[in-house]
C-alpha cells in the first residue's frame, strides 16, 4: 500500500510535468549534482517544449576563474609548493596550461578527497609547503574551515589555503532575469538554511529547494510548475527531510569564525559583490596569497568559449562553436566541459553532440 502511494505520487509529479501546457517556463537548476542527475535520469527527455531547463552556475569547478588556476600554477611551479586539490580541478585550463599539464614541468600536484587529508599530508611532510585549493559552495566550505582551524590549533606552519569559496545568494539576484524559477541546491540549503532563499521572494526571485532522488527532482519540478502558474514569486522547501529553515548552525558558526564575506570573481559572470569568502585576519598565516605574496593574476580564457553565456542560460552548450569540435571532455577548453557536473560535459556525455 505504501509503495503504491509513493508510486502514485511520483507518477502524478511526472504527469504534471509532461502535461504542462501553460506559458513557457525557464527553470534553472543551480546545483551541478542536479544537472548530472537530471541528465542521468533522462528528465530533460520528458519535458514538454514549454519548459526549458537551464544548467546554472552551481558546479564549483565551472565558476572557478582562469586566474585561480594561474595562481595555483604559480604556487606549484615558482614557489614549489605541493598543491592538494579535488580531482575535478586537475584538468581545468588555466591561461597556459592545466594543473594536470603542470606535472610534466615538475609541479607536485596531489589529488585529495578532503581538505583534512591535505592537512594530514602537511603534518607528514613538514619540510614541504602544502597548499589546498579551497573551492566550493556552502556545502564544501566548512571542511576547509575545519582544516584551517585544526592547523592553527596544532601549530602547523607549512599548510595554507588558496581560497575561492563562493556563496550562492548574490548569484541568484544576478541571475534573476535568466530564469522564472530556481531549483535551489538541497545540500547548500542544508548548511545555509532557507531564510535567504525565502527572503529572495521579496526581490521577485522564485524557487524550490530540491533533493537529489528521482522522486525529489520530479516533485520539485512539478511544484515549481504549479506555483509558477499562480503568477506570483514563490518559495517552497521540497526537501524538508534534510533541509531545515535554520540550516546547520555549527557549520555556519565554523565558517563565520574562520572566513568572512568578500567580492568574488565568477567565471563567465564576472565579479559579484559579497559572493565569495576569504580567510579572516586571525587566519592570515594560512592564506596562500598572503603567505607567498601572490600578485593579482587576471587570467585569460579562450575568447571563443561561451561558458559564461551557458551558465546564464543565454545559450545552450551545443550553440557554442567549440562544443564537440575542439572542446570535449578529453580536451576541455572551458571549465563547464571538465567536471562531470558541468553543463557542457553533461550535454556531451548524454548525446548533445549527436
Amino acid at each position: 500500500m505504501k509503495t503504491a502511494c509513493i508510486e502514485n505520487k511520483k507518477m502524478s509529479a511526472k504527469e504534471i510535468i509532461e502535461s504542462y501546457k501553460g506559458k513557457p517556463l525557464r527553470i534553472m537548476e543551480v546545483c551541478g549534482t542536479h544537472t548530472h542527475e537530471i541528465f542521468r535520469l533522462g528528465i530533460r527527455n520528458i519535458l514538454p517544449d514549454t519548459i526549458k531547463l537551464i544548467s546554472g552556475p552551481g558546479c564549483p569547478v565551472c565558476v572557478t576563474p582562469v586566474g585561480f588556476i594561474d595562481e595555483s600554477l604559480m604556487l606549484a611551479l615558482e614557489h614549489r609548493a605541493v598543491i592538494c586539490t579535488f580531482g575535478d580541478l586537475l584538468r581545468v585550463p588555466g591561461s597556459k596550461m592545466s594543473l594536470a599539464d603542470s606535472r610534466q614541468k615538475g609541479a607536485s600536484i596531489k589529488m585529495v578527497y578532503s581538505p583534512v587529508d591535505a592537512l594530514s599530508y602537511a603534518k607528514e611532510h613538514p619540510d614541504k609547503e602544502i597548499v589546498f585549493l579551497s573551492v566550493g559552495f556552502e556545502t564544501t566550505t566548512p571542511a576547509s574551515c575545519l582544516a584551517v582551524k585544526k592547523a592553527k590549533a596544532d601549530g602547523i606552519k607549512n599548510f595554507s589555503l588558496l581560497v575561492a569559496n563562493k556563496t550562492m545568494p548574490e548569484a541568484y539576484k544576478i541571475l534573476k532575469n535568466s530564469a522564472d524559477a530556481f531549483l535551489y541546491p538541497g545540500h547548500v540549503d542544508a548548511i545555509a538554511g532557507t531564510s535567504v532563499c525565502e527572503s529572495l521572494v521579496k526581490e521577485g526571485v522564485s524557487g524550490v529547494v530540491t533533493g537529489f532522488t528521482a522522486n525529489e527532482l520530479l516533485t520539485a519540478l512539478a511544484v515549481a510548475i504549479k506555483l509558477s502558474e499562480k503568477g506570483k514569486p514563490f518559495f517552497k522547501n521540497c526537501y524538508p527531510r534534510v533541509v531545515k529553515s535554520e540550516g546547520n548552525i555549527p557549520a555556519q558558526e565554523l565558517v563565520n569564525e574562520t572566513m568572512e564575506s568578500c567580492d568574488s570573481e565568477w567565471r563567465g559572470l564576472g565579479k559579484i559583490k559579497k559572493s565569495g569568502l576569504k580567510l579572516r585576519a586571525d587566519y592570515k598565516d594560512f592564506d596562500a596569497r598572503t603567505r607567498f605574496n601572490l600578485p593579482k593574476i587576471p587570467g585569460k580564457s579562450n575568447p571563443a568559449c561561451r561558458c559564461g553565456d551557458i551558465l546564464q542560460g543565454k545559450c545552450k552548450p551545443t550553440e557554442c562553436g567549440l562544443f564537440g569540435k575542439i572542446c570535449n571532455p578529453q580536451h576541455p577548453v572551458g571549465a563547464c566541459m571538465v567536471s562531470n557536473e558541468g553543463a557542457c560535459s553533461a550535454y556531451y556525455q548524454y548525446g548533445g553532440n549527436l
Binding site: 548530472h36 541528465f39 535520469l41 564549483p60 586537475l90 578527497y113 571532455p329 548524454y350
Partner: protein, 334 residues
C-alpha cells in the same frame, strides 16, 4: 632460505632453483611442468583458443583475492569467453627485490587453488627479479590455451537485434574493492572483489544452449565499456533497463558518495552474455544455480535503434544515453 626475494633469486643459479623448487613446484606441480625449456602438450583435433594477459594490480592483495588469483582468472576467463575449455597456462613473474617470500608463497597458493578449481594446469613459467624501485612489488603475466567446444563460434561482432543482454552477477565489486583499498576514504565496507574463474558458468551455459552469440568478461572499464564495444563491433543498439541491473547496496552506496557509475567499475568475475531472448530465461536459471552467478539477470536487449550506442531506460521511465566511457575515474567534489 632468505625471507625476501633478492636479485640472486633471478640470476639463474642455486637460489633460482631453490625458489622454483620451494615455491612454484610445490604449488604448480603436475607431470607436464618439467625442468625442460618448454612443455610438450597433447592437443586433440579441433580448434584451440590462445590468450595472454598481464597483471600489475595495486594493491596486490585486496578483499576477495590477490594478484595470483586474478592472474589465473583473467586468462581462464578470456578463454572461456570464446567458448574454450581452459587446459594449460604459463605464468611469468617479475618480482621486485625485497618482496617477502611468505607473500609470494601466498600468491602461488592462490594460483594453485584457482587453477585446480578450473581444471587448468600450469605447464611452464619464468621468474625475473627487478631491482628495488624498478617495479611495484610484483607483476604476473599468464598465457593460456583452451580447447574450443565443438560447433561454438562466439564473437563480439555476433550480437543480433532481439538478443537479450545478460550479466552473470552484481556489478562493480572488483573496481570498488580496489578503489577502497587504494585510497583512504575512511569508508568501511565489506565489499569483496568478484574475482572468480568462470569456465564453469560458460560450460553450463553451453550445455543448455548452443545459440550463445557473444560472451565477454567485463574487466577494465566494466560492463558499460563492454556494452559499447559490442554495440560498435556488431553495429547494433543496446537498450538497458536500469532497474534490472544488479548492484549490491554497498557498491551503490560507495558509488553514490564518490560520484561513480557502477557500470564503469571493473569486474573480474562477471560475464556479459548476448543470446536470443527466448533462451534468456533458461540461461539465467542455469547461471543462478552456480556459485559465481547467483544474481545473474537480463539487463536489456539489442535493438536496431542508434547503432553503436547504449541507451538506458531510467527509473522514471525516460530514455537517455549511457555516457560513453572515457578518462580516469575522478571522484567529484560534492
Amino acid at each position: 632460505m632468505e625471507k625476501n626475494i633478492t636479485l640472486a633469486h633471478g640470476a639463474g643459479g642455486k637460489q633460482t632453483s631453490m625458489l622454483i623448487d620451494e615455491v612454484f613446484k610445490t604449488h604448480f606441480s603436475n607431470p607436464l611442468l618439467t625442468a625442460d625449456d618448454a612443455a610438450i602438450l597433447q592437443i586433440d583435433s579441433g580448434k584451440i583458443a590462445f590468450s595472454t594477459d598481464g597483471f600489475i594490480v595495486s594493491p596486490f592483495e585486496f578483499p576477495g583475492g590477490n594478484i595470483g588469483k586474478l592472474s589465473i582468472c583473467g586468462t581462464v576467463n578470456d578463454l572461456a569467453c570464446m567458448g574454450a575449455k581452459p587446459l594449460y597456462l604459463t605464468c611469468a613473474f617479475v618480482i621486485e627485490e625485497g618482496f617477502p617470500l611468505t607473500i609470494l608463497e601466498k600468491i602461488a597458493s592462490s594460483m594453485e587453488k584457482t587453477a585446480k578449481e578450473t581444471g587448468v594446469k600450469i605447464v611452464a613459467g619464468d621468474t625475473k627479479v627487478a631491482g628495488k624501485g624498478q617495479i611495484d612489488n610484483i607483476f604476473i603475466t599468464t598465457s593460456g590455451v583452451g580447447q574450443l567446444a565443438e560447433g561454438i563460434s562466439l564473437s563480439g561482432s555476433k550480437a543480433c537485434v532481439g538478443d537479450a543482454v545478460i550479466v552473470t552477477g552484481d556489478i562493480g565489486r572488483h573496481g570498488c574493492s580496489i578503489l577502497l583499498s587504494r585510497e583512504d576514504f575512511g569508508i568501511e565496507t565489506s565489499i569483496k572483489s568478484d574475482c572468480a574463474p568462470l569456465w564453469g558458468a560458460v560450460e553450463k551455459m553451453l550445455e543448455v544452449t548452443k545459440t550463445l552469440h557473444v560472451i565477454r568478461d567485463a574487466t577494465r572499464g566494466g560492463v558499460g565499456t563492454v556494452l559499447y564495444e559490442i554495440a560498435n563491433q556488431s553495429n547494433v543498439g543496446i537498450c538497458l533497463d536500469s532497474k534490472e541491473i544488479p548492484v549490491s547496496g554497498e557498491v551503490a552506496g560507495v558509488c553514490g558518495m564518490l560520484g561513480l557509475e557502477p557500470l564503469y567499475l571493473a569486474c573480474e568475475g562477471r560475464l556479459v552474455v548476448f543470446a536470443p531472448m527466448d533462451e534468456a530465461e533458461q540461461i539465467v536459471k542455469t547461471l543462478r544455480q552456480l556459485p559465481y552467478s547467483k544474481e545473474a539477470a537480463v539487463i536489456g536487449e539489442v535493438t536496431s535503434e542508434m547503432p553503436g550506442r547504449v541507451v538506458m531506460k531510467t527509473e522514471i521511465g525516460a530514455k537517455t544515453l549511457l555516457p560513453e566511457p572515457g578518462g580516469e575515474l575522478l571522484p567529484r567534489i560534492c
